[in-house]
């Protein structure tokens, strides 16, 4: 009954009265019959007193209470039966009547005779939620349980009555909905799925940037809306769907069931039962339905229109709302008669603002979703999650809503007063932010930006700047086209206004779509123009200081925008780099932070790295490493980190004495972001050996080893990377050992972070090249750990592990025995020869060459088919792979018939061609392999046929002794065979 009374019964437009409709009649008749017969059917339950009595104004009089269970006195009547507090269970004092149990309700109806229907009508009109009255707010107790289930049955019966007119049509809607949903999925691929859950609908869309999955929650709203079809419904519920749908230009008319009217009702979460009902109605039913859906029947403050307006879905309101809104906006203008002239701007320009918000839906469309996926998003667009409005809102909420209401109808003077008052609230608090948004305050604030009144512009931006720290607000501002307006404000001559607009853009452009909008409306170019000022002369005039502030705000906005790859390019094209370089000379920290922040963000692009080097910015970056602001230091270090991939940049860092400050920064280990940036810079700088020497001098290695424990992974990656690079100098290997670095390094081998594992394996490999380190690694079972990393899914880790295994085998005592002890290890490494990754192949070949030095192991890998697998790889043009492949082949020839097998597998001819390579290291390895292979006569013939002699003769002339010897020996073998052949023929 509760559910049906609240939902299905049709209320009149003002919400106070039951409508006199056939449906209501049916429902009420059912209730009447139920109640009247209740006493007879359920005598026991009938006597259970209600938690709260049902009260209404009756048309009965005392004289009507003829039954002897009632006591009449004058005009009033009471029941003889009382509850446990002594109150009579029925009490009439005309016209009010109070009833406490079904027993008396039943009786009363029986007594009412022909007025029965009228009584039920009157009772339900004032008792909207009889269930709540009967059971109270808490769930029914056990003895009331039976009563509850009886009422529940009634409820279901009523529901079936309520849906009967629809089901009678014979086109059951769930099926129709499914057809449409399917069509949307299949034909247009806009919709991924729709979930119908209790009070919530979810719609998921494919994960393309503009169609980020969007979720709409209606949990807190008890509202109903009628939608023409599912597309309209989804459009109304989801801006993303709307945008996508528009692009695709739906022809929903093609859907067979398109003419159906989908009725969607949402109900309170706590209520059970069917929540998404779809009805099929004749068109003529619509007006009636709409009337009943008028807001105000129950929930006046949650008008749906406001909600959807907030999402910028202006184009999808029904016309009536649009009209209402227009008139509201135009009302803004007339104001006082004498101000008409000025105020004309208010209304005149506020409309384009709205329209542009509609227009913006399209340009974002298909043009560029290509922003690099790797770019880090601080604030990826989240599906709108409308938190349930808590019941006890602070008074600020209502005060703000009142102020926003005034704002909608105020002239400039009052607008400024209201704006200044709004700023006095704590706008950092989410309640206040959402209070502004919930009553459409953002629309008003953004409209104010379109006016000519500078004070209104400033006041509005000051608020927008504050509240745009909230990501929901940011998205709404973008949806409403606020960014376009702010971008155009950047052209104003008023500097304060420029600053505010840029700062607000900086706040809003924290997500990709907003950044794209800024670019598409020419914002990047304008923001770059803001940077044009003299950063730091000795004394600045007041005007110059204001210019500097404008530049600072511009840099802040560019910093936010620079998180998108295309914006980086736009900043460069707009000539931003030299301007940033000039601002970098500033001594103001608040200027430097956004400037360096932008630079380090952009340094992910090669063009910027080159520019940072050639425009002389390294010097300034290095200088600021020694400042006293950790954020600035972090950005500087981070910029160096990204730029120091380039050798010349690394040299510049050293030449400007940047290495020492970097090492000093290692002491600020408590700031992890700073530490990550610093260690990153050290890592990249240590790629140059000259820099490593400096780091040795500053005793950086000892500090780095100390950072191997208890650090976040992003720090560890860099620390280990730096150690790996420093280990290029052999004396550092001892330093690492002496400062206790080997143990933590080996321990890190059991981690899972792939970037970290690549660096750790490299560092451990480097350590293993020192014979004194190897026993420690061996004791810590480091080789086994390395070996198990060959199973890692990442090819980078596989390769890095295989490289690290090489020096381990070379330097370990009893290496052969150790390798054999890894169960399945040899098979594993041989199978890696099937990898597609060149680096993995090269590293595994190198490892196999080391393994094959042990004859027993060579026998095992031969059994695992190493020969044909190596032979398979010979047709490569990659010099690195050629070198290690040739080495592996040379080493593998030492066993059994491998030498012959290589020839049979066709490995010889390609090897001969390796001698054409330009890499001398390839020559050496190849010559050695050819020498081993030339021990088989057939191979010699193949080599000779491929013109090896001439090539080898050149190699003999090399300065590399090993190459000389191998080449000469190979030629000797071939010559021997030829001589033997001659002898056989002639002799």
């Amino acid at each position: 009954m509760g559910l049906t009374i609240s939902r299905a019964v049709q209320w009149s437009s003002d919400g106070d009265q039951l409508e006199n409709s056939p449906l209501n009649n049916d429902i009420l008749t059912e209730i009447l019959l139920f109640t009247e017969g209740f006493e007879d059917r359920h005598p026991q339950e009938a006597s259970i007193p209600f938690c709260e009595p049902l009260q209404w104004n009756t048309s009965l009089e005392a004289a009507d209470f003829t039954s002897d269970i009632y006591n009449t006195r004058g005009e009033s009547a009471v029941s003889l039966e009382c509850d446990d507090k002594g109150r009579p269970l029925l009490q009439l004092s005309p016209p009010a009547i109070t009833v406490h149990s079904f027993y008396h309700l039943s009786n009363l109806l029986k007594l009412s005779k022909d007025k029965k229907m009228k009584e039920v009508w009157a009772c339900l009109e004032v008792n909207r939620e009889p269930i709540k009255k009967i059971f109270g707010p808490i769930s029914p107790t056990i003895h009331k349980g039976k009563l509850f289930s009886i009422l529940h049955q009634l409820d279901e019966k009523l529901l079936s009555i309520a849906v009967r007119p629809i089901t009678r049509e014979g086109r059951l809607s769930p099926a129709a909905v499914n057809t449409e949903v399917d069509l949307l999925k299949r034909e247009n691929r806009v919709l991924k799925s729709v979930h119908y859950t209790s009070g919530l609908h979810y719609a998921y869309f494919p994960p393309s940037p503009s169609l980020l999955d969007c979720r709409v929650e209606n949990s807190s709203m008890t509202k109903s809306e009628v939608y023409k079809d599912i597309v309209t419904l989804l459009k109304n519920q989801s801006p993303h769907f709307a945008a996508a749908a528009d692009e695709q230009d739906f022809a929903i008319q093609d859907v067979p069931s398109a003419k159906k009217i989908l009725h969607v009702e949402t109900v309170d979460v706590e209520e059970t039962g069917q929540t998404l009902k779809s009805y099929d109605h004749e068109e003529k039913n619509v007006p009636e339905k709409l009337a009943w859906n008028k807001p105000g029947s129950r929930n006046k403050k949650l008008e749906p229109s406001l909600k959807w307006k907030n999402l910028g879905l202006t184009s999808f309101y029904d016309e009536e709302e649009e009209k209402a809104r227009r008139s509201r906006e135009s009302k803004k203008s007339p104001g006082p008669a004498s101000e008409n002239k000025k105020k004309a701007n208010f209304s005149g320009s506020s409309l384009p603002g709205c329209q542009s918000s509609q227009k913006t839906k399209s340009p974002g469309g298909a043009d560029d979703f290509s922003e690099s996926s790797s770019e880090d998003e601080e604030d990826e667009e989240k599906p709108e999650r409308r938190a349930e409005i808590p019941t006890d809102l602070p008074s600020e909420y209502w005060q703000i809503q009142k102020l926003v209401k005034y704002l909608k109808g105020a002239n400039q003077t009052a607008t400024v007063i209201v704006l200044c008052t709004l700023r006095d609230f704590n706008l950092v608090q989410e309640t206040c932010q959402l209070a502004i948004r919930d009553v459409g305050g953002l629309e008003v604030l953004i409209n104010l930006l379109d006016t000519d009144d500078i004070r209104c512009n400033i006041g509005s931006l000051k608020i927008l700047r504050e509240i745009s720290c909230n990501s929901l607000i940011r998205q709404t501002i973008a949806d409403l086209g606020g960014l376009q307006t702010m971008v155009s404000i950047l052209d104003t001559p008023v500097k304060e206004l420029k600053c505010l607009a840029a700062e607000t853009i900086a706040n809003v452009a924290k997500f990709r779509r907003a950044r794209r909008t800024v670019r598409q409306y020419g914002g990047i170019k304008r923001l770059v123009e803001l940077l044009d000022c003299l950063p730091d002369s000795v004394s600045l005039s007041a005007e110059q200081e204001r210019d500097a502030d404008v530049a600072r705000c511009g840099a802040l906005a560019l910093w936010s925008c620079s998180k998108s790859t295309r914006n980086k390019e736009s900043i460069r094209q707009a000539g931003g780099i030299p301007l940033l370089a000039r601002l970098l000379k500033s001594s103001q920290k608040n200027m430097l932070i956004p400037v360096v922040g932008t630079l380090q963000e952009c340094a992910s692009e090669k063009s910027y790295r080159i520019a940072i080097q050639t425009e002389g910015m390294i010097e300034d970056l290095v200088k600021n490493l020694s400042c006293d602001n950790q954020e600035l230091q972090m950005h500087c270090a981070s910029a160096i980190f990204k730029c120091a991939e380039d050798k010349h940049t690394r040299d510049l860092v050293r030449q400007y004495d940047g290495l020492k400050p970097l090492v000093m920064l290692l002491n600020k280990a408590e700031n992890k972001q700073l530490l990550a940036a610093t260690t990153g810079a050290i890592w990249k700088c240590s790629i140059s050996l000259e820099n490593v020497a400096k780091f040795q001098e500053y005793r950086a290695l000892e500090i780095l080893v100390g950072l191997l424990k208890d650090q976040p992974e992003e720090v560890l990656v860099n620390v280990v990377g730096a150690l790996g690079e420093c280990a290029q100098i052999s004396e550092n290997l001892a330093t690492i050992r002496k400062s206790g670095g080997i143990q933590p390094l080996v321990k890190l081998l059991s981690g899972t972070n792939q970037a970290l594992l690549v660096n750790v394996t490299k560092a451990v490999g480097a350590c293993a090249t020192d014979p004194e380190n190897m026993p420690i690694i061996d004791r810590l079972d480091g080789v086994r750990l390395l070996w198990s990393l060959l199973k890692n899914p990442s090819p980078d880790v596989q390769a890095s592990a295989a490289w690290a295994i090489c020096p381990c085998i070379e330097n370990a005592k009893d290496a052969g025995e150790m390798v054999r002890s890894f169960v399945g290890g040899l098979e594993l490494i041989v199978n890696l020869l099937k990898s597609q990754n060149k680096d993995v192949l090269a590293s595994v070949c190198a490892a196999i060459a080391k393994i094959a030095k042990d004859v027993e192991n060579l026998a095992v890998i031969s059994d695992h088919g190493v020969v044909p697998m190596l032979a398979n790889l010979t047709n490569t043009v990659d010099d690195k792979l050629r070198r290690y492949l040739a080495e592996a082949i040379a080493c593998c020839c030492m066993w059994g018939s491998n030498c012959v097998s290589f020839g049979e597998a066709g490995a010889v001819a390609p090897l001969v061609h390796y001698l054409h390579s330009k890499d001398p290291l390839v020559h050496q390895a190849t010559a050695r392999a050819l020498f081993e292979l030339s021990k088989d006569p057939n191979n010699c013939i193949t080599m000779h046929e491929n013109g090896v002699v001439k090539l080898l003769l050149i190699m003999i002339g090399s300065t590399d002794a090993i190459l000389q010897e191998a080449a000469a020996s190979c030629v000797a073998n071939i010559r021997c065979l030829a001589l033997a052949n001659d002898k056989a023929k002639n002799g």
Binding site: K331, K332, P334, G335, P336, A337, S338, E339, N340, K341, K342, K402, L403, Y406, G409, A410, N411, Q412, T413, A414, V416, I417, V418, L419, C420, T421, R423, D424, I454, R455, I458, G459, P493, V494
Partner: protein
């Protein structure tokens, strides 16, 4: 005629010499321009009144045509603020001094000027009633509400709460000064009485 204008020029130059020393923001050439403008405006005025200076109607025309002011009450108040000796005419001295603040005034001078404008009764305080009078047309009346002026009254209370630092129920000069210094936007809190910021920035055409 020729002779007279020559004499006039001499007179004007002398006057400019004296006046530009008394006002802050204009040099001699600018003062001269303003005086010339003033006498031009006077010339259009009926002879009889010319002796006293610019009358209210003519002054209001300037405010309206040159500075785009529209509010009758504000224009009258600005006139009063210019007319320091309260003789209902603006003398050449009042004209130059007034414009000095009006066009070029520093924040402090403008605060004083605006306060004078808003101080309708001239008692040194801006009272609730004065605010109500100045803001009476600043809000669209909601026909649905019982008291259509309720919104305005509320705005007045809001403004008073924001400005009345000493809680005496009215805004004194020091209240006003403190408020504006905290938030410059509130300089013209009760109505437009200064030239548009854009006019200030883009030109000083008035003195050219």
């Amino acid at each position: 005629m020729q002779k007279m204008s020559a004499m006039n020029r001499k007179l004007i130059q002398n006057l400019a010499e004296t006046l530009c020393k008394q006002v802050k923001h204009f040099d001699k050439r600018e003062t001269e321009c303003l005086i010339r403008l003033f006498s031009g405006l006077l010339g259009e005025q009926a002879e009889r009144r010319a002796a006293h200076g610019l009358d209210r109607v003519r002054f209001r025309n300037i405010l309206h045509n040159t500075f785009g002011m529209t509010d009758d009450m504000m224009m009258d108040s600005v006139f009063r603020a210019f007319d320091k000796d309260n003789d209902t005419y603006i003398s050449v001295k009042e004209w130059v001094e007034g414009l000095s603040v009006f066009l070029r005034g520093a924040l402090d001078e403008k605060i004083k000027f605006c306060f004078d404008v808003y101080n309708l009764h001239g008692d040194g305080y801006i009272s609730r009633e004065e605010m109500l009078q100045m803001l009476k047309d600043s809000l669209i009346r909601q026909p649905t509400e019982e008291d259509p002026d309720e919104g305005i009254k509320d705005i007045v209370e809001i403004a008073l709460k924001k400005m009345d630092h000493d809680h005496d129920g009215k805004v004194s000069y020091s209240d006003f000064e403190k408020t504006v210094k905290d938030e410059n936007l509130l300089l013209e809190a009760f109505g437009n009485c200064l030239p548009d910021a854009k006019v200030e920035i883009t030109s000083n055409y008035f003195c050219m």
